[in-house]
Amino acid sequence: MRKRINLLTKQKKYLQEEKLFYYLRIASYITAVIFFIFFIVNLLFLAQNKKNLDLKKKEKEMYLQFLLKNKEVEAKFVYFQNKSSQVKNILKNDVNFYPYYILLKESLKYASPEPVIESISINKDRTTSFVLGFDSTSQLLVFFKLAESPEFLKNFSELSLHQFSLEENKEVKNYKLGLLGKFNLLDENKD
């Protein structure tokens, strides 16, 4: 039996199918063009990246060669940083006596007449004990006022009186105060 297509009755449906395939052909062309452009553009970008990479490689090699010729300069700075940091670390274990002694001496000037530092002992952990000598009770009282003042106490993280004595020799009185404490950390830059 022969197959027949009735174009009159199913014209609308056939036209739709025809249109569908027409769009499919157009889509194929467009896809091909897009694919082609996309491929070419990306290839160009990739080539550019490759060029950049090569330039970076060359630049790196250039610097490496330069550094190879001048490697002792970097070594010198590394050596200095290394040694100086070791020196600075070691100095943290130093008693650093002089600045703390001067600090105490200067702070005692606020008490007038200023007492005499008879003896002082300072440890590397900044703990200290010192003995102050006074000629009179009035001088002693002035110091007591100073010892309670913030100007004097700001130099110490702790300070306490641990000894008091009186020596009398031919009508000359000599009062001695022994104090124990710990200095606050000074600026590490000496001198």
């Binding site: 395939f21 940083q81 100086s84 020196v87 274990n93 002089y98 002992s121």
Partner: protein
């Protein structure tokens, strides 16, 4: 119920089969190409970033050559600075330099070191070499000593504890420490350019150890020496 065969559609499919295949293949290839290019871009970007970071580090190191000359204009010579710190903290113990250091300090401060005892047995690795010294002088010379003992002998010296009395200067006993240290590992991530603190430190050393350096330059050290004169 028997479905009718759409011959027209079949004919259309046959006629456009090439387009259908091309369309499907292009879509598949396009997806593949997008994935490929995306990966390639990511790889390239990673490589370029890596190179850029490496170049930055190298550039930074390379500029040290210029920097070395630049700081000379500021009065800082890294070679001299290294001689100073190397002298302060030698890699190996040199007992001769300890004796010289004590003599230098005596000369510079007038605090005369009359005797010293080196306790070699007490030296532990990583710690200083301890010397018990006895000295004499007046208040000024002792204060000068206390101001300058760290560097002025040309060797790094620390003291753990100082007992000071304003009446007794004839026989002052002190325990001093000398140090040696080999350069330890240093993180290359750190900037090795000199900070203002470093520059001040170098200037301080130059002031304190100037005489020692000048005399050291004229000393011929090519003669054979014993490693331990004690």
């Amino acid at each position: 119920m028997k479905t009718k065969t759409d011959y027209y559609l079949i004919r259309l499919i046959k006629e456009n089969l090439a387009y259908v295949i091309i369309f499907v293949v292009l879509i598949i290839v396009l997806v593949g190409v997008i994935i490929f290019f995306t990966n390639q871009y990511a790889t390239d970007k990673k490589a370029i970033d890596k190179f850029q970071k490496e170049i930055m580090v190298l550039k930074n190191k390379a500029s040290l050559v210029e920097y070395k000359d630049k700081i000379i204009n500021e009065g800082i010579d890294i070679d001299q600075a290294n001689r100073l710190v190397g002298q302060l903290l030698p890699d190996q113990e040199d007992y001769f330099s300890i004796i010289i250091a004590l003599e230098k300090i005596s000369q510079r401060t007038n605090f005369i070191i009359t005797s010293y005892v080196i306790s070699l047995s007490s030296k532990k690795p990583g710690e200083g070499l301890r010397l018990n010294i006895t000295g004499q002088g007046d208040l000024d010379s002792f204060m000068n000593f206390l101001k300058d003992y760290n560097f002025s002998g040309g060797r790094l010296i620390t003291i753990d504890k100082i007992d000071f009395s304003n009446k007794e200067f004839s026989k002052i006993a002190l325990g001093v420490n000398f140090y040696t240290s080999k350069p330890s590992s240093f993180s290359q991530k750190q900037d090795i350019r000199l900070t203002e603190e470093d520059k001040n430190f170098i200037k301080l050393l130059e002031n304190k150890i100037q005489i020692e350096l000048k005399s050291a330059e004229s000393i011929d050290t090519s003669y054979p020496t014993k490693s331990n004169p004690f």
